[in-house]
């Protein structure tokens, strides 16, 4: 991870937490608020890889816990997993479909909601498993799905100039230069076939 990328990720994490606390969490949609944290960490993982995702997840989670005066480490733990696995998805599958951030945004929001509930219970919050809790997690997933694509686009715009190699750019470059395209003609790519090799 280069220094420019690290700086941008630091600013991104800080801005995410401030905007989330000062504005987004005060806007209620169907009784819940959108949660930018998992979406931003997921986007970073998907764009910059598992290590950058995990480190951004740790930093963002720690900042959330510090600002909200919560038990330190809880949100970090969840966001590390989100950032790391989003990054691994990029490294192993390199998903190209435009709706991947939407699906992944829904998945990581559900993971964050259920994970937070589980950790709260493990920490001794004596609470019944409420149907409303699951209902609210479900609505949060829907709301976050709606904003997942714009959030991904913003994060991509912010950190793309510092990324060493964006898989989509690499693929586009390969296609436009004929490097990996199945439609490219061998004669143009490889040059003239020597007559001796055909004998």
């Amino acid at each position: 991870m280069n220094l420019k990328l690290a700086l941008r990720l630091l600013v991104l994490a800080f801005a995410t937490v401030v905007i989330q606390q000062a504005a987004i969490s005060q806007i209620s949609i169907f009784g819940v608020s959108a949660d930018l944290g998992p979406l931003v960490v997921m986007s970073v993982g998907l764009l910059a890889g598992s290590m950058a995702g995990a480190i951004t997840g740790f930093g963002t989670g720690l900042l959330v816990d510090l600002v909200l005066v919560q038990t330190l480490g809880v949100t970090s733990l969840l966001y590390i997993a989100i950032g790391y696995w989003s990054g691994r998805l990029r490294e192993l599958r390199d998903p190209a479909h435009g709706l991947v951030p939407l699906a992944l945004g829904a998945a990581v929001t559900a993971f964050a909601g259920l994970g937070m509930a589980l950790i709260q219970f493990l920490l001794g919050v004596n609470a019944p498993v409420s149907l409303l809790l699951f209902q609210q997690i479900f609505i949060t997933v829907l709301v976050n799905s709606l904003i997942a694509l714009p959030v991904f686009a913003i994060v991509r715009r912010l950190i793309r100039p510092t990324l060493p190699d964006d898989p989509r750019r690499r693929r586009r470059r390969a296609y436009t230069t004929g490097g990996l395209s199945p439609l490219s003609r061998p004669s143009e790519r490889l040059g003239p076939i020597p007559r001796s090799s055909t004998r």
Partner: protein
């Protein structure tokens, strides 16, 4: 080369998870004056001007979103509120008569009314950030120890009890809401019997509170709709954190089985904790009196 990268990645992941677990364990076992808590308060103090500025700058965005949200919900609430107005009018007539009688009796008996809300010095504060999770545990306000705020000061807003101050810095404070699992408040049901119990949150359900330890008797069907207020108590040097008579909510459900088995009823909070913009902190000198932690 590839193996080296994999090892490096796993090492970093292990370190991050390890640090998180160490922080979690250390923080969970610490007292509120320990180093991690102090660092946390320092960060809150440093970031509070930024959050305050962002909160003010982004208010128009919140207002626009809030307008759409409120318009959608206003229609459905209109009928419900009309019914409530009719009920409250009837209750008001009873209450005014009771208040008059109460004043006369208080003068007559010479009861000590020092626990009234007037004896607390209310400090108005703006909400500058809030917990975005479904647990709705805390909000942060822009008044602190410089304004006379202390830890455990009660916080009210929007016509009801909001919570209490849990962390104080010179310019900001953190309010633990009544929906937080650590909260418990001595509550009184405003029925003929004036039954008292302990109000606790239904954790994970921000729209519900529970009054527990109620007497296991009474006409159950009449309980629904009754107002629940802070009980307030004074026993020697100890007194409740909350003055008596602050509205907490309204009983929403009181099943016979719950009341008989657990002595509990469900309460809808009077305050919409998700939409608080301003609160009042009831500050009070602590000299001479210790205040009970719970309830």
């Amino acid at each position: 080369m590839h193996d080296k990268q994999v090892r490096r990645r796993r090492a970093i992941l292990g370190v991050l998870v390890g640090v998180s677990l160490i922080l979690l364990t250390a923080y969970f076992g610490e007292s509120s004056s320990s180093p991690l808590h102090t660092v946390q308060r320092g960060v809150v103090e440093v970031l509070s001007p930024v959050q305050e500025g962002a909160s003010k700058a982004l208010k128009p965005v919140r207002d626009v979103a809030g307008w759409f949200s409120d318009t959608l919900s206003a229609k459905s609430r209109s009928d419900q509120l009309q019914r409530q107005v009719n009920t409250l009018r009837a209750q008001l007539a009873h209450a005014q008569a009771a208040e008059l009688q109460n004043r006369q009796l208080t003068k007559l008996v010479g009861l000590d009314n020092a626990l009234g809300i007037e004896s607390y010095h209310a400090v108005a504060a703006h909400v500058i950030s809030r917990d975005p999770t479904l647990w709705y545990a805390t909000i942060e306000v822009d008044k602190g120890s410089d304004d006379g705020v202390h830890v455990d000061d009660p916080v009210i807003g929007d016509g009801g009890l909001v919570g209490k101050i849990s962390t104080v810095d010179p310019t900001v404070s953190v309010v633990t809401l009544i929906t937080d699992h650590s909260m418990a408040v001595a509550a009184q049901i405003q029925d003929a019997g004036g039954d008292t119990g302990v109000l606790v949150p239904a954790v994970g359900d921000p729209n519900q509170l529970l009054v527990q330890d109620l007497p296991q008797s009474g006409p159950f069907h009449e309980a629904v709709g009754q107002q629940v207020v802070t009980a307030g108590f004074k026993a020697g040097p100890l007194q409740s954190l909350y003055p008596p008579g602050i509205p907490i909510g309204q009983i929403s459900s009181a099943s016979e089985s719950n009341l008989l088995n657990d002595g509990q009823v469900q309460v809808n909070p009077a305050v919409d904790l998700r939409h608080l913009d301003a609160v009042q902190i009831l500050t009070k000198p602590h000299g001479g009196t210790e205040r009970a932690q719970l309830p």
